[in-house]
Subunit: 359 residues, 2 copies
């Protein structure tokens, strides 16, 4: 029996994708091989990778002047790889600090440049996204970095920053493909696949072609965007099976009607939870209302001592991974694209039941 | 129908592993989740990763003072990551150049240090492994790097170098787990998984603990061996599904009787092919006899113009990916652990038939 998995990542995948992967495991469409066994240079895998890229381009309406790379290393790897690829000729990069994932980016970037904090919400425990009017950019940064969704506090940009001619770089690991995005507003979009795209081990980079000439000489070839772009992400062997699964997820998203439809579903799911939270005095959300994440809904019980009983009862009802991140505690429901509405309904129903019993 | 896949990598996997992966795809042992969906910090996945590591330790008899890391980036990523992790306090690294994979390591290392070529077989088109008596090490290198199996020419060390107190670093991507290895002779062993271990996207690093203190400050945390070792390879999200499949491959190897038994099978398979090559004047192998690879058997037809017909006939008989690497041409049969003896028998039978028809 399948359970409802509220993990922050790796996370729930669409059941039809898993069914197809299981059915094709020993013989992909008459090839006599598993996708895992295919040479990345063979015509079968090249067709899989091409299809994945074109589906993604359709979903996000990626303009032709942007390159799509399927790499490795995850977002934390990319936290170091981004500055390596963008710092040629400049010594400073600007960051907006909205939480733990921003802080990781900042820590890695400091190995390669001066980091300027343009804005931060650390003063209020990362419970809000600083308005752009409060950002103070440095005179000539290589780029401005944001994390569009912070999974730990449960914070999400509901607007797109405007940094003019300075490239805007976004870690979108945890909300990519959950809504339409105007890619042209960004210089670079990157993210690990394990929340909304597929298995851990695949890293997506979408980069404007004119930014490919800014790498430092120390950039490893396997993570050098220009070299990877010239080789269609096959400078080294890509994580082939993860690309295949991500391609199936992209097709599933297209079959649902694309990102405008997906966004409506995500609004519906998150509203169901937030509405309940707002009408309860037993549970509380500490994130500023307009910055609440649709992907990671965090909340606390009136009495923290009841957390354990709450989590245990959830598991008994087939709902797992609801524990908040160890850095902040509390409860966290990660409700990515593949979480069915039914899972959220069950959670709210259980919260109501728990409140009635313990409130 | 399953075919015989002679790809150099990603490559054939054991059929029972694929069957188990298919059966467990939607619900891993009653967890209600796919392994792909599991939080890497949940007890289910931690049990999978622990089992994979302990199986690998048993297979290779890894001494306790060695750390086992499951990372990302492949061997080409590691070509840059190795020098980053080992160069603190030293400016030179020594390399033995035996082919294309050695050359890639050298190219990446030059970004971080002076590369000294201790020996090379480039003078004879990489058809032999230079004897250690001919190696000329530099005065104080950070390490000596070898590639124990070159997939393109089809060259393999049949002996273990002795570099005394200087750490020996080996790229074993393409022959790891094909035979027993005396790990204690090495400072670092690394490799991409996609030949003998599992899906592309997983990178294995086995490192002696005393070498963990030599990283350059520019080393990205995701690829920093000491940070990853302290976090049990979970400093960032590991490629969880690839770790799971590799763990199943390790169990399959143990069930066969371990690496001594596997080595005998690999000797049997490669001998079948080389014996036939040596008794034919139609096909020829150009690698020095004592350095021939058991994993990648390369050969040429008497008349190159017949290559295409040879490859086409092979495909018609269910044998694919026999084309030599584009850098050298000819024919290449990659016969990793998971290639059944039957596949090699069929290939020799076809070679005999083709020779009779065209010889």
């Amino acid at each position: 029996m399948r359970i409802f998995n509220f993990s922050a990542g790796p996370a729930v995948l669409p059941e039809p994708v898993l069914q197809q992967a299981a059915a094709e495991m020993l013989d992909w469409r008459g090839s006599g091989m598993s996708v895992m066994e295919m040479s990345h240079r063979g015509k079968e895998f090249i067709s899989i990778a091409d299809k994945a890229e074109s589906s993604l381009r359709t979903l996000l309406a990626i303009p032709p002047e942007y390159k799509v790379l399927f790499l490795q290393g995850g977002a934390i790897g990319e936290n170091a790889i981004v500055p390596m690829n963008l710092l040629q000729g400049r010594t400073t990069a600007d960051f907006v600090n909205t939480g733990e994932w921003s802080k990781k980016s900042i820590k890695e970037a400091r190995k390669y440049c001066t980091v300027h904090i343009a804005a931060s919400s650390e003063d209020k425990d990362f419970t809000y996204v600083p308005d752009q009017s409060a950002w103070k950019l440095s005179p000539d940064p290589a780029y401005v970095h944001v994390c569009t969704n912070e999974t730990i506090a449960g914070l999400e940009y509901q607007w797109t920053p405007d940094t003019g001619n300075i490239p805007l770089v976004a870690d979108m690991s945890s909300n990519i493909l959950s809504r339409p995005v105007d890619v042209a507003k960004y210089g670079v979009i990157y993210g690990g696949a394990q929340k909304n795209m597929g298995p851990a081990g695949l890293t997506l980079v979408i980069v404007r072609a004119d930014l490919l000439d800014r790498a430092l000489p120390i950039t490893p070839s396997a993570f050098h965007w220009k070299e990877q772009s010239a080789a269609d992400s096959m400078f080294n062997t890509p994580p082939t099976y993860a690309v295949y699964i991500a391609g199936l997820v992209f097709e599933w998203l297209l079959a649902q009607g694309g990102l405008a439809v997906i966004e409506q579903k995500n609004i519906e799911k998150s509203t169901l939870l937030y509405d309940y939270l707002d009408h309860s005095s037993f549970y509380r959300s500490s994130v500023r209302r307009e910055d609440r994440s649709r992907m990671n809904v965090t909340f606390r019980l009136a009495d923290e001592a009841q957390d354990e009983a709450f989590l245990k009862g959830a598991v008994q009802r087939g709902m797992v991974q609801l524990k908040g991140h160890r850095a902040v505690g509390g409860i966290r429901a990660s409700i990515y694209n593949a979480m069915p509405l039914e899972g959220v309904r069950r959670l709210v129903e259980y919260m109501r039941e728990f409140e009635a019993r313990h409130g």
